[in-house]
Symmetry: C2
Subunit: 340 residues, 2 copies
DNA sequence: CGCAATCATCGAACCGGTTCGACACCCAGG
DNA sequence: CCTGGGTGTCGAACCGGTTCGATGATTGCG
């Protein structure tokens, strides 16, 4: 493999001159410039990443920490990850994907060893143990998800409160007066998944204001439990005419459950889910939904992170907490109520 | 951040001694060893990854190249990725996830710059343009997927031929004599996705041997096209009593389609899919299926890759092509036929 | 025509590790 | 008492880039 020394020799100049010719950081005569570029081309020269990182203290790699819990829906994470990797690459960065169960140790490892120029944390818990580590790290950090304490980090998340309100408003406007909300499993909340109750509490509050009855139920994340739970919920509240689902597994399970019960959507039951458009299309989810745009969140986080990583000035700017607004996408699974 | 020089000074020894004390590559007196370790601990010393990579020519990072096509089912990739990242970490490696559209350029970049000790390629096309690059690279490479030419690389894949035969056998044994096979979209084949026709052709051959009629149909990958296609296929072959589905989007769409047509599974129609167990559970796919174990594939690829990366002897061993056997998991969606 | 300013290039140092060869010390054996 | 072989430690070189300061060549101006 050719080094910059080989290129310099081939071009008949010193190593430093070759470096300057390639980087353009100092004026170089046209003649020498051409010889160096030709030599680099001929030798298929590519700078050694480790050496460059050592010299510049920049790796051009971002760390992406994702945690996967037994009872969570791993494939949904893919969209966030793609938003991150694709945007990072556009900005000249590669992505180190870390899925280690011990997030704290993983974060220490990649920041302390200077493998990355910045870190994005996903699956944020309210009281996430990784946050103090990241705040103390020399690299900037961004979060996808909202913790209790946002200080020292840029935060990006869906506006779950507004999502809850949008769902309730939509069905209320169609005339529904009794609704069921299926959330994620209770473990998710216990683990600090604030998005569960952020959506639920806002939905409950809005329902109260509108005089709508809303039954909030914790969900399940796997078959066959999730199918059972849907059945039990529908049994428990027979007068409910609308279903709000903030739980991908429950959304995926619903067609089969509805079929078995002889329920038609939207004639007998109106349904609104909360997931991403891409998911709806590729996963064939047939229900109207509140878009959660995971790729946009990942992309925003990366842009901010790279800004801070590349400019000392940007690193001093105040930290941002940015929510993206939910949007209701209709796939025809809601209609005015007709009692079951 | 503390360097090994700081540790050495703190312990009152030279840099090389500190290095040897930490690595254990030369005998060091117990006294000095303790002082060095204490100093490292006190200063929270972590070796600089770039410097170490430069000195040892080892990055302890593996590259994972995944390509995402518009008409493919991105979330399904998550399982493969987790198999890779988790196994890599167990073996002491981190994973660079590259999703760049231009796979050839991406592969060149990460191999030439020595960012990685080895590379795993996913979404292998029959005549994949990345293969010659990877063969010529100084790092070892492993594939998840079967190309036309396997030379110079270790290859891991599901035995799709056997999967096709298992599906046909299963329904034949129950008494079915006319089946429909929904594959992936035709684009996937044109792009070199051999797994589509590997399963299909083996299924057709076995059906012929058994005297079973098998209608093979190209699928669609997104809603609403995939739902339409399912309807059309069921219309086109009204006498078919069994459905084989090698296409996740079609599997996900089926409950809704069956419901709309008033079809009961398995009473009116027997269904066997091809996907992973984890997918079935988290994604609530209710049909019996042939397991594809993506995490195991990723894990096997990493193990072999790391073996080759770490031992010059292993690098000289003959290359392997290893298929994992499919296994039928019954979720009760098949039964003896009853004409529709 | 001589001196200063400008431009292009070079050499050396540095980033932070690892590793090789040399050396000092200690103890056993002759 | 001298020698030989371990042991334990050190200094220096190296990995492959970047960057600073200095130097030599060229040009402009007085």
């Amino acid at each position: 493999m050719a080094t910059i020394g080989d290129v310099a020799r081939e071009a008949g100049v010193s190593r430093s001159t070759a470096s300057y010719a390639l980087s353009g950081k100092r004026p170089i005569s046209e003649d020498v410039r051409r010889r160096v570029l030709a030599a680099a081309e001929a030798l298929a020269y590519t700078p050694n990443a480790g050496a460059r990182a050592l010299a510049t203290s920049q790796t051009k790699v971002l760390g992406l920490l994702a945690q996967f819990h037994e009872d969570e829906f791993a494939p949904a994470m893919m969209q966030y990850i793609l938003g991150v990797t694709n945007t990072a690459r556009d900005l000249g960065y590669d992505t180190l994907l870390v899925t280690e169960a011990d997030g704290v140790r993983a974060l220490r490892r990649i920041t302390d060893s200077r493998m990355v120029d910045g870190v994005i944390l996903m699956n944020i818990a309210q009281d996430d143990a990784r946050l103090p580590i990241l705040r103390a790290a020399p690299q900037p950090g961004a979060l996808v998800g909202l913790p209790d304490d946002c200080s020292g980090l840029d935060v990006f998340d869906l506006d779950f409160e507004e999502a809850g309100r949008v769902m309730v408003d939509h069905l209320h406007r169609l005339g529904h007066r009794e609704l069921i909300l299926i959330s994620h499993p209770e473990h998710v909340v216990e683990r600090g998944g604030a998005y569960v109750w952020r959506l639920r509490d806002a939905a409950l509050e809005r329902a109260r204001q509108l005089g709508v009855t809303l039954h909030a139920v914790y969900g399940e994340s796997r078959q066959p439990a999730v199918g059972r739970l849907l059945n039990e919920s529908l049994d428990a509240y027979p007068a409910a005419t609308g279903l709000l689902i903030n739980n991908e597994a429950a959304v995926a399970a619903l067609p089969t459950v509805a079929h078995a019960r002889g329920l038609r959507v939207p004639e007998d039951l109106s349904v609104v889910g909360r997931y991403s458009a891409d998911f709806a299309a590729t996963f064939s989810l047939p229900y109207s939904f509140v878009e959660s745009a995971p790729d946009r969140l990942g992309s925003m986080a990366v842009r901010q992170l790279v800004r801070r990583a590349e400019s000392p000035a940007a690193r001093k700017e105040p930290f941002v907490v940015r929510f993206i607004s939910p949007e209701l996408v209709s796939l025809g699974s809601t209609a005015p109520p007709r009692s079951r």
